[in-house]
């Protein structure tokens, strides 16, 4: 009997341990929607399905993959990353994914909690056996598709070996390396709300405007020149054209052979490319994931 009590108490304690990282309980009346999200009714179920956490913890080990010691060390690494870069950083592990896929879980988790708009999240999803790196805001520009791929590569063997804490350390250090290498492209920027938008191609528009106005002025100028020599007599043609002979005589034929090696159809990804997608909150994110 005593053993049973202990077991019951232990089982009861599990939710408490989990709940300890919850900062609030969402309800229909209070969804705790962060300011960065523009709330729409369609988001409600997704918000309710997303845990509301204490954003200062940074490490949310729902799947209990790290020891307390590891968790603290990861927290220290993450904190120093945050201090050095000004980007937010979150590490999450889950045993059960109640969303569509790893991306939607990561995006909702990041968006519906009060994390900074600019940040990076590392999710270990034990349910779908996928690890996912999600970037938001400014972080998208530091981690283009190639860099995300190379981080995923770098963590892959640790993930296969179930060394999740090792993978997390590597994630933080590699992220810092890339942050320090700087932004790759200048094609994107932020609008006043902090959303990623394309930079206005002012030079292109100036060139277009120049060409269009030049064409318009030249056309108008051309209209002032009315005196032209006619070089045809189309206006005086009677509509009685008769074709009296039509002959197409074959003269000769030749065939040339050219060596054309077959090229493989695989496309190489261009450097500096970003693929972004939006989660249920409508905020765009970069990043990528991999099965392990």
């Amino acid at each position: 009997m005593k053993k049973l009590y202990v077991l019951i108490i232990f089982i009861l304690c599990i939710p408490f341990r989990v709940n300890a990282i919850e900062a609030c309980i969402r309800s229909y009346d209070n969804l705790y929607v962060p300011d960065k999200v523009e709330y729409k009714d369609s988001m409600r179920d997704n918000i309710l399905d997303t845990p509301c956490v204490d954003v200062s913890r940074k490490v949310y080990d729902y799947a209990d993959l790290f020891t307390i010691d590891e968790e603290e060390r990861i927290y220290d690494e993450v904190s120093s990353f945050i201090n050095r870069t000004g980007l937010d950083m979150v590490v999450v592990s889950i045993n059960y994914n109640n969303k569509e896929n790893a991306f939607s879980y990561a995006a909702d988790f990041y968006d519906y909690n009060e994390f900074s708009y600019d940040g990076i999240l590392f999710l270990i999803d034990m349910d779908t056996r996928e690890y996912y790196i999600l970037t938001s805001g400014e972080a998208i520009f530091y981690f283009d598709d190639n860099r995300i791929d190379s981080i995923l590569d770098y963590l892959y063997y640790d993930m296969l070996d179930s060394d999740y804490s090792g993978a997390s350390f590597k994630f933080v250090s590699k992220s810092l390396d890339y942050y320090e290498m700087g932004i790759i492209t200048s094609k994107y920027t932020f609008d006043s709300k902090g959303n990623i938008v394309r930079k206005t191609p002012v030079v292109l528009f100036l060139v277009i405007s120049f060409v269009v106005s030049l064409v318009v002025v030249l056309i108008l100028k051309g209209r002032n020149k009315k005196v032209k020599l006619s070089d045809d007599a189309d206006k005086y043609l009677n509509n009685d054209f008769k074709l009296t002979r039509k002959e197409d005589r074959f003269l000769r034929k030749n065939t040339q052979r050219f060596y054309v090696p077959r090229t493989s159809s695989s496309t190489t990804s261009s450097s500096g490319g970003f693929s972004t997608r939006s989660g249920s909150s409508g905020i765009s994110h970069g990043g990528g994931g991999r099965k392990f």
Binding site: T200, F205, N224, K226, A233, N238, L243, K253, Y259
Partner: protein, 358 residues
């Protein structure tokens, strides 16, 4: 002495009112002649009936090289004309003088399109020049810039002919196919012959070297349904010139125009080739007819900022032609307005459809 020897007798006639013997003027609107003194109006038939009643006054012509001198049949003043003038005005009494000698023999005219529009129409058309020409200087279409306006019957050659054309060209058809790592390009060469027959009527070429061919081409086309049998009476009130470019010279221009048109017509019959090069294009005229006619043209000499501009109006359909000057300031302003407008549209379009659409 030499002047006397070269002197010839020539006649110059005006058209007289059968009622009061004043000079008559042709009115394009009614296509009749009116007498401004006794207010009578006459048709061509009326005039013909009365014509023989009057003796033509004779004037003496003196040979002066490039110019001829006539005596005005009305006031006796000297009229100086160049060698091609058929109808002109006496600068003293403003009456029309027609030099009939220049309308006989090889200069005999068969048809004329009489003026259908008046000097006022030409002025009105000039005033409206700004419509559709935003780059024209605003003050250009001002009547005060018109330094001279003349209605002139221009000698024209009209060519009508049935034309046989023969186009020979070399066409290529190129097929490409792939087998393994090789591309096979097969080129088939064909000789293409197209022959056709088509007819042209009344292709015009002006018979006067004095007038700019570009302007003469640009006021085309005249509606030849309005051609009427020539009578010198139509010339009253207008200037007229005889040709100094003969039909053979004019034919060269016309042939070039006809050849281009026939070549285009036959060219459209060549289809289904990747490329083709014309080897030869020959035309033959069958039943070539050449007509010498007078066509009505209003000439406007425009003086604007010390530069002269010539405008011509088709005296039959009112089409006004001439190179309109371009206002550089307006050009720059138009450029800037379009520039800013297009730029704003680009930005607007970008912000609405592209900027946030990642």
């Amino acid at each position: 002495m030499e002047l006397m020897r070269m002197a010839k007798r020539k006649t110059s006639v005006g058209h007289k009112c059968p009622n009061c013997h004043a000079n008559l003027t042709f009115k394009p609107k009614s296509q009749n002649w009116i007498c401004e003194y006794c207010d009578s109006e006459f048709s061509l038939d009326d005039l013909k009936k009365n014509e023989q009643k009057y003796e033509e006054k004779k004037v003496v012509e003196e040979y002066l090289g490039e110019f001829d001198v006539y005596r005005c049949p009305d006031c006796g003043a000297e009229i100086i004309t160049d060698l091609n003038t058929v109808a002109t005005f006496c600068i003293y009494c403003k009456n029309t003088s027609i030099i009939k000698e220049r309308l006989v023999g090889k200069f005999e005219l068969k048809y004329i399109i009489p003026f259908k529009n008046t000097k006022e129409d030409a002025i009105a058309a000039f005033k409206k020049l700004g419509h559709g020409h935003p780059l024209m200087p605003k003050e250009f279409a001002d009547i005060k810039n018109i330094s001279e306006i003349r209605g002139i019957y221009i000698p024209f050659w009209l060519f009508s002919s049935s034309v046989d054309g023969r186009l020979v060209s070399e066409g290529r058809r190129i097929h490409t196919r792939y087998m393994g790592d090789y591309r096979y390009v097969t080129t088939e060469v064909y000789e293409i012959v197209r022959e056709g027959n088509v007819s042209f009527s009344y292709v015009p070429n002006d018979g006067s070297k004095k007038f700019d061919d570009g302007i003469m081409n640009s006021i085309e086309p005249f509606n030849y349904d309005n051609l009427v049998l020539f009578s010198p009476s139509y010339l009253s009130g207008f200037y007229a010139e005889k040709y100094d470019l003969d039909s053979n010279e004019a034919k060269k221009n016309i042939e070039m125009r006809i050849k281009n048109t026939v070549s285009d017509l036959l060219g459209t019959q060549v289809r289904g080739y990747s490329s083709n090069t014309v080897k030869s294009m020959d035309i033959n005229y069958d039943n070539l007819k050449v007509e010498y006619v007078f066509l009505p043209v209003w000439f406007l000499n425009i003086k604007y900022k010390d530069k002269l501009y010539t405008f011509a109006m088709n005296g039959e359909n009112g089409k006004l032609i001439g190179n309109i000057p371009v206002d550089k300031k307006k050009m720059i302003i138009t450029f800037l307005i379009v520039f800013v407008l297009v730029f704003l549209i680009c930005i607007l379009f970008f912000y609405i459809f592209i900027r946030g659409n990642l």
